[in-house]
Amino acid sequence: MLLIHCPHCREDREEEEYSYSGEAHIVRPLEPEALSDQEWGDYLFFRKNPKGIHHEMWYHAVGCRRYFYATRNTLSYEIIETYKVGEQPQVSAQGAAQ
C-alpha cells in the first residue's frame, strides 16, 4: 500500500484514494488535425514505460478530485516528490535538478 502525498490537500493518504493517469508531461497537440497518423499514434499510445524514475499523473479521486504529478521509482515504488500541474519536477532520471 503506497502512501501518497497530495500536494493540494497537503496530506499523506492511502493509494486507494487515488487513481492513476499514466505518464506525465505529455502535451496535447495544439492542432490535432495537423498531425500525421504516426504523430497522433505516438501521442495517444506510445510511452516511455521506464524501469526507475518515472514522472506520472495521479488523480485524487475520493479526496480533492484534482490532478497532480508524482516522481516515483517504478522498481522500488519510492515516491520521491509530488507536485502540482504546471510545476516542474525537482528530480529526474538524470538526477536532481539544479
Binding site: 500500500m1 497518423d37 524501469k51
Partner: protein, 416 residues
C-alpha cells in the same frame, strides 16, 4: 536426447532414478548466431523451438537473464482458452489451443494439459449480452462454446453460489469445454528440452544490456558475457519489453504493471473446472496437488517490482468468497506478482520494428500463458521469413498508428 517412455521409466527405476539425462545442455555462447531470442520464458523457448523444428534454423541462442521459465511463466494461473471476440485474436488463440492439444506428444514431455473447461460468468444484463455475442462470434470462428444457465453452472461447479440474493448474482455464463489448464513449468521445460535437442543454445544467467546496430540494422547484442553477434534479434521479454526496446531507441505502446496471483493450502478435490468472472474480478481453479489457484488484477500503476498492492488481492478474495462461500475459511499459502506488459487494446504485439532484424513479441498483458505455443509458432515464422505470419499480421505494432486496434477488453481486458 533420450525419449521418455514407459520403458525408460522402468529402466531408470532400476537405478533409483539417479541416471536420468539432463534436460538441456549449458553451453558457452558462440560468437555468432542466425537468430538470438532474448528472454527464456515460455514464449521465447517456444519461438526457439519452432525456429529449429519448423524452419530448420538451428543456430539459435536463447538468452535469459535469470533461469528458464523463472519469470511470468512461473507466475501465472495457467488458464487456457480461446474464446476471444474478434476474428484476429480468436484465430491466434485457437491456433494455440490446437497446438496445446497435441503438445505433450509433440514435445515427448508431459505438460499436464487438462481440458477441464472454462466458465466465464455473467452477473448483469450487459454481461449476458456480451457473453451471447462472444459465444456466437466464437462459433462462427469454429471455436466451441455455449451460453449456459445458472443451473448448468451449478452442475459444472457444484460449490458455486447461484443464489439470487447476493450482491452480484450469477445470471449465466459462457462455457468452453476445450479450455482448461496446463502445468506452467512443464511447458517451459518441455520447449527448452525440445529446442536444446534440435541444437538451440540455452544461455542462462546472462542479461542482454544493449542492442548493437549498424546503419539501422541489428548486428548483435551486448550481454553480461560479452558481445554476441546476430543479424536477427527476437525480443520476448514480457514486462521488460519497454526496457529492451529503449536499448534500440524505440518506444512501445505498452505499460508494465504488476499482476498478482495466490494459492491456498492444498485441499481435497472440489473444483474440477476453471471459473472466471470479469464483473466481480476473480478467477479460480484447483491444481492437481489440491491448492486453489486464484488470479487477481493488475495494479493501477506502472511498476517493475514483482509484487502488488494488498487491496487488489483483497478485492479478488472478496469476489471468490461470494462466488464460493465454502472457500471463505481456506487459508492462503503463497502470493506473488509478475510484471506484465499491458497494451491499450489488450492484444499482443508480434511485429517487425523500424530497426532491420529486430523483432518484438510482447504486450500479452495479463493473458499470455494460454498463447505460448501459438505465439512461438507465428513469431518464429515472422522472424524466419522476415515477414509477418498471416495470423500475426494484424498484431503489427503499426496498428497503433493506423488505428486498426483489436479491442479485446471485453473478452480479455480484465480476467485472463
Amino acid at each position: 536426447m533420450k525419449k521418455y517412455s514407459g520403458f525408460s521409466l522402468f529402466k531408470n527405476a532400476l537405478s533409483y532414478h539417479e541416471n536420468w539425462q539432463k534436460l538441456w545442455r549449458s553451453p558457452k555462447p558462440k560468437d555468432y548466431y542466425d537468430v538470438i531470442v532474448v528472454g527464456g520464458g515460455g514464449h521465447g523457448l517456444a519461438t526457439a523451438y519452432y525456429l529449429a523444428k519448423v524452419h530448420g534454423i538451428t543456430k539459435v541462442a536463447v538468452i535469459e537473464k535469470g533461469y528458464l521459465g523463472g519469470g511470468n511463466t512461473a507466475r501465472n494461473t495457467t488458464i487456457i482458452r480461446s474464446n476471444y471476440l474478434w476474428d484476429e485474436a480468436a484465430q491466434l488463440y485457437e491456433l494455440s489451443l490446437k497446438l496445446w492439444e497435441g503438445l505433450s506428444q509433440e514435445l515427448n514431455y508431459n505438460v499436464m494439459f487438462s481440458q477441464r473447461g472454462v466458465l466465464n460468468l455473467g452477473h448483469n444484463l450487459q454481461d449476458m449480452r456480451d457473453i451471447e455475442r462472444r459465444v456466437n462470434a466464437n462459433r462462427l470462428n469454429g471455436i466451441d462454446g455455449e451460453v449456459v444457465t445458472p443451473e448448468r453452472v451449478k452442475e459444472i461447479a457444484p460449490l458455486i453460489n447461484i443464489s439470487k440474493d447476493c450482491r452480484y448474482p450469477i445470471l449465466g455464463a459462457s462455457w468452453q469445454p476445450r479450455g482448461g489448464t496446463a502445468r506452467h513449468d512443464a511447458v517451459a521445460w518441455g520447449y527448452a528440452r525440445g529446442a536444446d535437442a534440435l541444437g538451440v543454445d540455452l544461455i542462462q544467467e546472462t542479461e542482454v544490456i544493449g542492442i548493437r546496430r549498424k546503419n539501422g540494422s541489428v548486428v548483435g547484442v551486448e550481454t553480461t558475457q560479452g558481445f554476441i553477434g546476430s543479424r536477427k534479434v527476437a525480443c520476448v521479454t514480457a514486462g521488460n519489453s519497454g526496457v529492451v526496446a529503449a536499448m534500440a531507441g524505440l518506444r512501445l505502446p505498452v505499460e508494465s504493471r504488476p499482476l498478482q496471483a495466490l494459492v491456498s493450502e492444498p485441499v481435497k478435490p472440489c473444483l474440477d473446472t476453471v471459473v472466471m468472472s470479469n464483473a466481480v474480478h476473480g478467477y479460480i481453479s484447483q491444481s492437481d496437488k489440491g491448492d486453489l489457484v486464484i488470479g487477481a488484477g493488475v495494479d493501477g500503476y506502472n511498476g517493475y517490482g514483482q509484487r502488488g498492492s494488498f487491496h487488489v488481492i483483497e478485492h479478488t478474495l472478496q469476489a471468490i468468497c461470494e462466488l464460493f462461500p465454502a472457500f471463505s475459511r481456506v487459508r492462503m499459502n503463497r502470493q506473488w506478482g509478475g510484471v506484465v506488459d499491458t497494451c491499450p487494446d489488450a492484444c499482443p504485439i508480434i511485429s517487425k520494428t523500424s530497426v532491420d532484424g529486430l523483432y518484438f513479441n510482447c504486450g500479452w498483458g495479463t493473458g499470455g500463458f494460454k498463447a505460448t505455443p501459438g505465439s512461438g509458432y507465428v513469431f518464429a515464422d515472422t522472424v524466419a521469413n522476415d515477414h509477418p505470419h498471416p495470423l500475426a499480421a494484424a498484431f503489427n505494432v503499426d496498428r497503433f498508428n493506423t488505428g486498426a486496434l483489436i479491442d479485446e477488453h471485453g473478452a480479455a481486458g480484465v480476467a485472463h
